[in-house]
């Protein structure tokens, strides 16, 4: 009987899977950005969660828990035979922080999409990545009719340090998204190895 054991199959190069996180407030353009640069139609999966309130006893409170699902979308960019990059859009709501923890684990870096109609919605993301020590850039996603901010104003509003790049972006444009990601990776490399990157 034929066997499909991995030993008998032709050896196939297995790439390293790495990730970049696309974060930002609700409706900031995360899914749009992922779709703009992904080589596949962004896939969506969900995570099921149980909601508990404070003070509820772990065992006794089971009946009072409600289940919520949160969509997680991701795209993929094959870098070369050795590396495949995944882009993960974070769930728009901050309260799903445990999901953020997992997403942040081992991530190369993060893009925080700042929505100029409501800059404050990305405060949590900025805060989170600063605390976790995940390098990030801020991409200012401009929506029609919203206030036009200068970089300095955004920097002040978000209270991010001078070395964090702030870039104007349009999540609907592939070229713009590509620039944002290049800026992020350059920033990460610079932070790790200031000499090698000019």
């Amino acid at each position: 009987m034929a066997s499909a054991d991995s030993e008998t199959r032709p050896q196939e190069a297995i790439p390293q899977a790495v990730k970049i996180i696309i974060a930002g407030g609700f409706g900031a353009g995360k899914t749009t950005l992922v779709a703009s640069v992904s080589e596949i139609t962004p896939l969506s999966t969900e995570e099921v969660m149980t909601e508990a309130s404070y003070g509820v006893d772990d065992i006794g409170g089971v009946e009072h828990k409600t289940t919520t699902t949160v969509a997680l979308d991701f795209g993929r960019i094959t870098i070369n035979d050795d590396v495949v990059l995944y882009l993960f859009g974070t769930p728009g709501q901050d309260r799903f922080w445990f999901m953020w923890d997992e997403l942040a684990e081992g991530a190369l870096g993060a893009v925080v999409l700042a929505d100029t109609r409501r800059l404050d919605t990305c405060f949590h993301a900025v805060d989170f990545f600063e605390r976790r020590g995940v390098p990030f850039v801020v991409a200012v996603n401009r929506f029609e009719g919203s206030t036009v901010y200068r970089e300095e104003e955004v920097r002040q509003a978000l209270d991010v340090s001078a070395d964090v790049p702030i870039i104007l972006a349009d999540a609907r444009e592939r070229g713009s998204c590509k620039e944002v990601l290049v800026e992020l990776v350059t920033h990460v490399i610079r932070g790790r190895d200031p000499v090698m990157s000019g």
Binding site: V48, T69, I79, G106, K178, V188, I189
Partner: protein, 151 residues
Amino acid sequence: MRTDGVHGHEAVAGALPEETVRGPAPEAPGHDEEFGQERFLRPFAVTAGDPDTPAVLGPEPSGIDMLSLVVAARVPGRHEWLRPERETILGHALRARTVVELAAEVHLPVGQVRGIVAAMIADGSLQRCGPSRPLARQDILHAVLVGLRSL
């Protein structure tokens, strides 16, 4: 193909060879006051269709995370016909796949697929695999930069 042993955090997050860049990551406690009164917990018992397999909470117990790579170690369809989702996962894992891709392909929540994948590794249906050519993080970053520029 290199088959990874599973050793806790070393094996998770795409098995990156180094720690995250800017120093130690604080753990979850402390987030609560930041993120308001509501708390969302990972489910223990939400395992639709596969009551024997608890969903996995966080990367800890199995060392399997969303970007862990697995590949089928047996032919699908001959065993476990009582658990169709396992056979479906197996069918999708004929080539090495990340857990999150499997989840999207079989339309099940990631946490649940992680639990099933862990069980399938334990029973020898799936095999964990590491990258054929593991790279240092700095080399990965440079490769990613080049790749992104040529998009």
